[in-house]
C-alpha cells in the first residue's frame, strides 16, 4: 500500500523529518514555557527536572527550534504565497468547517487556510524569538531598559498563546482531514485524496483528471 506507484509524493523524507523534529521541539518548548505562564501549569516543570532546570533549558530549546523552523520557513515560503483563490477559499471556510466543500475554490498544494496558518506561525515565531532574547535574563536582559523588558514579556506571552492556539488548530485540522497525518508520516497520498482536498495540485502532479 505504502509503496503504491500510483500514489503521489506530497512530502519528501527530509520535509517529513524536519516537520516532526520541529513538532517535537515545539511541544517541549510549549510545555516548558507554560510553567512560567500561569501557576496552574507550574508542575509541568517536572518533565524538565524542576523549576530551575526548566528556566535554564526553555530559552535554549527556543534557539534549537529556530533552526528547523527556519528551514521550514525558507522551504515553504514560496508555495505559501497567498493568491486571490486562497482569499476566496478563506471566505468560504465556514462551509468547509460545516462539512460541505462542494463550493470551495480549488486548492493547490496548500489551501488558503494552511497558507494563512503558515504566515501567522512565522509571525509568532519571529515575535517569540525577538521578545525571548530581551527577557533572557541570564545573557541579554541587562542590555535593555526595564520598560522594554516589560513590553517584551507581554509580547512573549501573547505570541505564545496565539502560537499554541494555532498549533492546536493545525493538529485538529490534521485529525479531522483523514489521511493527512499519514501523508506527513509516510510522504505519499492517494490520488483520490489529492483530488478531493487539493484538486489544483492533483492536476499539476498528474497532468489530468486521473
Amino acid at each position: 500500500m505504502k509503496n503504491d506507484p500510483k500514489k503521489l509524493l506530497r512530502y519528501t523524507p527530509l520535509e517529513r523529518a524536519n516537520h516532526w523534529l520541529t513538532a517535537i521541539i515545539f511541544m517541549l518548548l510549549a510545555l516548558s514555557g507554560l510553567c512560567f505562564f500561569y501557576p496552574g501549569f507550574y508542575p509541568l516543570n517536572q518533565f524538565f527536572g524542576g523549576g530551575v532546570w526548566t528556566r535554564i533549558v526553555h530559552p535554549f530549546i527556543g534557539v534549537v527550534m529556530a533552526i528547523p523552523f527556519g528551514v521550514m520557513f525558507f522551504h515553504y515560503r514560496q508555495p505559501n504565497v497567498m493568491t486571490p483563490t486562497d482569499w476566496k477559499w478563506l471566505s468560504h471556510v465556514r462551509e468547509m468547517v460545516g462539512g460541505d466543500d462542494r463550493n470551495m475554490p480549488e486548492a493547490g498544494k496548500f489551501n488558503g487556510g494552511q497558507k494563512l496558518l503558515f504566515w501567522l506561525l512565522v509571525a509568532c515565531m519571529v515575535l517569540l524569538i525577538l521578545s525571548g532574547i530581551v527577557i533572557w535574563r541570564a545573557y541579554f536582559s541587562f542590555l535593555f531598559p526595564v520598560a522594554v523588558i516589560r513590553f517584551a514579556s507581554v509580547v512573549h506571552a501573547v505570541a505564545a498563546t496565539i502560537m499554541i492556539a494555532l498549533i492546536m488548530l493545525h493538529i485538529y485540522a490534521a485529525i479531522w482531514t483523514k489521511e493527512s497525518i499519514a501523508a506527513m508520516l509516510y510522504g505519499k497520498v492517494r490520488r483520490a485524496w489529492a483530488k478531493q482536498h487539493h484538486p489544483a495540485w492533483f492536476r499539476q502532479m498528474t497532468g489530468g483528471d486521473k
Binding site: 501557576p39 499554541i164 483523514k178 483530488k195
Partner: protein, 293 residues
Amino acid sequence: MALQSLDIIRRSATTTPSPSQRQTPEVAKLIDISKCIGCKACQVACMEWNDTRDAIGTNHGVLDNPMDLTENSWTVMRYAELDTDRGLEWLIRKDGCMHCAEPGCLKACPAPGAIVQYSNGIVDFHEENCIGCGYCITGCPFNIPRLSKKDSKVYKCTLCSDRVAVGLEPACVKTCPTGAIVFGTKDDMIHHAEGRVADLKSRGFVEAGIYDPQGVGGTHVMYVLQHADKPAIYCGLPMKPSIGGTVGLWKGAAKPLAAFALAMGALGAFLHYVTKGPNKVSEEIEKEFDDEK
C-alpha cells in the same frame, strides 16, 4: 529568607490561601534623610547581620561604595550634591527594598513561594524556591532585586524579617548613630514622620514631606524628604512608582482567561468532530479511483 511563618498574606504564583492564622501589626522603617550623615554604618550592619560580603571594588571618585546594590549589598548610600539658594545641600539616601504593600516582584514571580509577604508588610525572598528567571527585576518599580552570578538566585533587603520575627529591630536601625533610621508600627512611624516634617517646615523646608507612595499601596520603608515635591533629586527616587500597566497586563486576568480559551478551543474541536464527522474523500471521487483500492 526566614523561618517558617504562619503570617503569610501573599505568596508568589499561588492561587490558594497561604498559612495566615497569625496576625501581626504592620511595621515600617522610616529613613529621615535630613538626619543622615552618610556614615554607612547601616551598610556595614546589614552585611554583618546577613553575613554577606561584597568583593572589594575600586574607588570611582565619589562616596558611593559600592556604586550600586548587589546580591551582597542589600542597601547602599547614594550621595547627591545639590546647589540651591540655601547653599550646598547634600542629599544622602539609603537605597534598598521599599517593601511595597503591593509588590511588583511578587506579582511577576512565576515560582510558587519564592516571594512572600507577611502580615507585618515585609516582602521576603525565599531563595530556595527561586528559579532565577529575573521576572521580579522586571516587576519591581524601584530596581531593587539583584541576580547572583554565583547561584542564579535573587537577593534583596529582607527588612531583617528574621530579627523582626523575634521582636528585634532591623540591623541598620540598631546601628544608626544619628537616629535617622527608626522602626516600629507603620502608624507610629507615620506619626513620627509627621513630627519630623513639621520640624523641617519650621526650618524653611516648605516642601518637606513623607515618601509613602500610594501607587504601590504605600511602602513599609518610608522616607522623610526635605524636598518631597522632587523625589528624583534623591538619586532618582521615582515620583509616582507603580507596578504599571504592562506588568498588570502580563500578570493579570489575561493569562487564566487565555488558558481557559485554549481549553475551550480544544473542547470546540472535540464537539466539531463528533457532530460534523471527519473530512473524508467523497464516495464520488473514490469511485473514480477504484483501481487504487
